[in-house]
């Protein structure tokens, strides 16, 4: 096993990797930007070195600087975390050439799977289903023939488009020709490029991914699936495992396909195969050639430490057969953002109280006094629960979210609470559109209590705007009337 590694990342994931490394007796070298001098990933590390100014291009993306530090500190390996350099084939190659181990797949696998078009080709070659469709063609008859083959409904999409623009749904063959003309004209108008391609329309699509782990000796195991359909702005908010939409037969087929693809590409280490699932069928979307943010829900169910497995495999060991999964796990991502507009929220963490108790895991790198910086991702923490079954896991997550306190910035917690209370989520029958039009009018009693609390705080003079000013603290003037009053009333 490695004696010392460098973790080329920051914040929560840097601390996550560091914790496992320490528990394995591996020394940790941290790197940091000027904005992160007081970060926990720096303060808890065995060694720490400055990279440069806050912007990622001047700090966490400076591969050559990171390699210099790695060599000065004589580390054995570099763990890239996720984001930053984790899917950069050039960096993986440079680490290799420096005689160090890159904790991740070979550069070639990163390149082949990192590109959407080439990874789709790999999937097709490996016999893994992709969303059926046809490449852009100016001739509507070519596409119509393909549409007949796939079966209606289909989508026509602008080749130059993106972000949901220039998409036209075609329910039946009779609508095709007019829809094509319309789509081509809209594409021409919006993007100056009239090319249109064809894709099967997926009804109520869900985003489900399979965790894989492969070694250099040809071994490959999978750890079931994660359901990631609760998204806003194309970013995941709540994940769960297992997926309520996946039965044992579908799971077996998806795991088999994921394994086939992983082996086809000469993969090593941890990876995630993302699929769209619709009406009992699954379609390859992309592969993430690194650890996933939501890896923890898999860890909780399988009793596995995926970072430890990454390190073992990078050191040349073989994969281990997973334990039987148990229970149900849910993750909520806690971002610094307005819970309604999802606009980032900056500020200083003034108060932090993390939830405790059984089946609750809090993965974060935040602390009282942390200034939430605009330079990096807005994720503050991940709250993960495990319980015997889905119902208990939902209840436990709500209990833990009620205990959690983060003051100083707004967070996505209210949005997550909203989802977890909703009938759509509780039924398990939801898809990627769940956050659109979710309604749960708040109880009047809660609104009244909020008003009463605000009025009482103002009555006591506690509502002083200046956050530095000390306010009289209550809690000692005890009113023992509640019990007495009631007792006397009954007695």
């Amino acid at each position: 096993m490695f004696r010392r590694i460098l973790i080329a990342n920051r914040g929560e994931i840097a601390l996550r990797v560091q914790r496992t490394a320490k528990e394995m007796g591996i020394e940790v070298v941290a790197v940091f930007s000027e904005a992160d001098r007081n970060s926990l990933h720096v303060r808890f590390a065995d060694r720490a070195y400055l990279l440069g100014p806050p912007p990622p291009a001047e700090s966490y993306l400076r591969g050559e600087r990171i390699l210099e530090i790695a060599q000065i500190c004589e580390v054995d390996a570099i763990h890239p975390g996720f984001g930053f350099l984790s899917e950069n084939a050039g960096f993986a190659q440079a680490v290799r050439e420096a005689g160090l181990v890159f904790v991740g797949p070979p550069p070639e696998a990163i390149s082949r799977m990192g590109d959407k078009i080439s990874s789709r080709r790999v999937a097709l070659e490996a016999g893994v289903p992709v969303i059926p469709g046809a490449d852009a063609d100016l001739e509507p008859r070519t596409l119509l023939a393909k549409a007949r083959e796939i079966g209606f409904p289909v989508l026509l999409k602008a080749a130059a488009g993106g972000g949901g623009k220039g998409i036209k749904l075609v329910r039946e063959e009779g609508e095709f020709e007019e829809a094509f003309r319309f789509a081509a004209a809209e594409a021409e108008g919006a993007f100056g490029d009239g090319r249109v391609y064809l894709e099967k329309f997926l009804d109520k699509p869900r985003h489900v991914e399979i965790q894989v782990m492969a070694d250099r000796h040809g071994g490959c195991v999978t750890y079931g699936e994660r359901e990631c359909s609760v998204q806003r702005r194309h970013q995941k908010l709540v994940e769960e495992s297992p997926s309520p939409a996946v039965d044992p037969a579908l799971r077996a087929r998806m795991e088999e396909a994921a394994k086939r693809l992983t082996l086809a590409v000469g993969y090593e280490g941890a990876g995630t195969i993302e699929f769209m699932v619709s009406q009992g069928e699954f379609y390859f979307l992309e592969m993430n050639t690194r650890l996933q943010v939501e890896h923890a829900i898999t860890e909780e169910r399988f009793g596995v430490d995926l970072v430890a497995e990454q390190l073992r495999i990078a050191a040349g060991e073989t994969v281990r057969e997973p334990w039987e999964p148990r229970g149900h796990s849910i993750e909520v991502r806690i971002n610094a953002e307005d819970p309604v507009t999802f606009f980032p929220s900056l500020g200083t963490i003034e108060r932090l109280s993390s939830p405790g108790g059984r089946g609750v895991r809090f993965d974060s790198a935040i602390f009282r006094g942390l200034e939430v910086s605009p330079y990096y991702d807005s994720m503050l923490a991940k709250l993960i629960v495990w319980a015997e079954d889905r119902e208990r896991a939902i209840q436990r997550m709500l209990r833990a979210l009620a205990e959690l306190r983060i003051a100083g910035v707004q967070t996505s917690v209210p949005a997550a609470v909203h989802v977890l209370h909703s009938e759509e989520f509780r039924s398990g029958d939801y898809d990627t559109s769940i956050l659109e039009g979710l309604e749960r009018p708040q109880e009047v009693q809660v609104l009244e209590v909020a008003g009463l609390a605000a009025a009482y705080a103002k009555y006591r003079g506690a509502l002083i705007e200046d956050k530095q000013e000390t306010v009289a603290t209550g809690g000692t003037g005890l009113s023992p009337w509640v019990l007495r009053g009631r007792m006397e009333g009954r007695g």
Binding site: Q410, P441, Y456, T473
Partner: protein
């Protein structure tokens, strides 16, 4: 002293008038609701409050039922009240402030200066000087924390001045543009 609160959460909104009175050792909270037909309903609860963390955290026992909230003053002088992970927005005025507001008229209107609330890069400017805009219309898009954040008009108005262009780097507090409310 009476307090006038407007509370909003998840699309529901209530208004109440609240005051406190001691009855012996017990603090009584009076919640007054003005119905549409002009009638006034009053609910009275004995409360046992416990303020913590310099007034930011409050536990209320209302007739034996517990409510643990924390309070965050927001930039507009209002309050965010957090309860069990949920969030309520509260506007609160006491009698004096209420009178002062009536005298001033409807609270002074919207600030024409739109400033960057955080450092970032201007990705797109979607309006031109002299253009009429509507409340909620996107004026420009600011990229910060890896996200594209639309900056929207707070009220209907006229774009008087644009201080930035696409590609500009701004820091928190920088003036982006001026929109004179209609």
């Amino acid at each position: 002293m009476r307090y006038f609160v407007k509370v909003e959460a998840d699309g529901r909104r209530i208004e109440r008038e609240i005051f406190f009175e001691k009855e012996g050792d017990v603090l009584m909270a009076h919640l007054v609701r003005h119905d549409e037909d002009g009638t006034e309903e009053v609910e009275v609860y004995p409360i046992d409050p416990c303020l913590l963390e310099k007034g930011r955290s409050l536990h209320l026992l209302v007739d034996g039922r517990g409510f643990d909230v924390y309070l965050q003053p927001t930039s507009k002088g209002n309050l965010d009240v957090h309860y069990k992970g949920d969030l309520c927005h509260v506007e609160i005025l006491d009698e004096r402030e209420k009178i002062a507001q009536r005298v001033q008229g409807k609270g002074g209107g919207t600030d024409p200066e739109i400033r960057a609330s955080m450092p970032g890069v201007v990705v797109a400017v979607e309006v031109q000087e002299g253009q009429q805009v509507q409340k909620g219309q996107t004026l420009l898009v600011l990229e910060a924390m890896k996200m594209q954040n639309p900056i929207q008009a707070e009220a209907d108005g006229l774009v008087e001045q644009i201080q930035v262009k696409a590609g500009d780097t701004v820091t928190g507090g920088d003036l982006l543009l001026r929109v004179v409310p209609a």
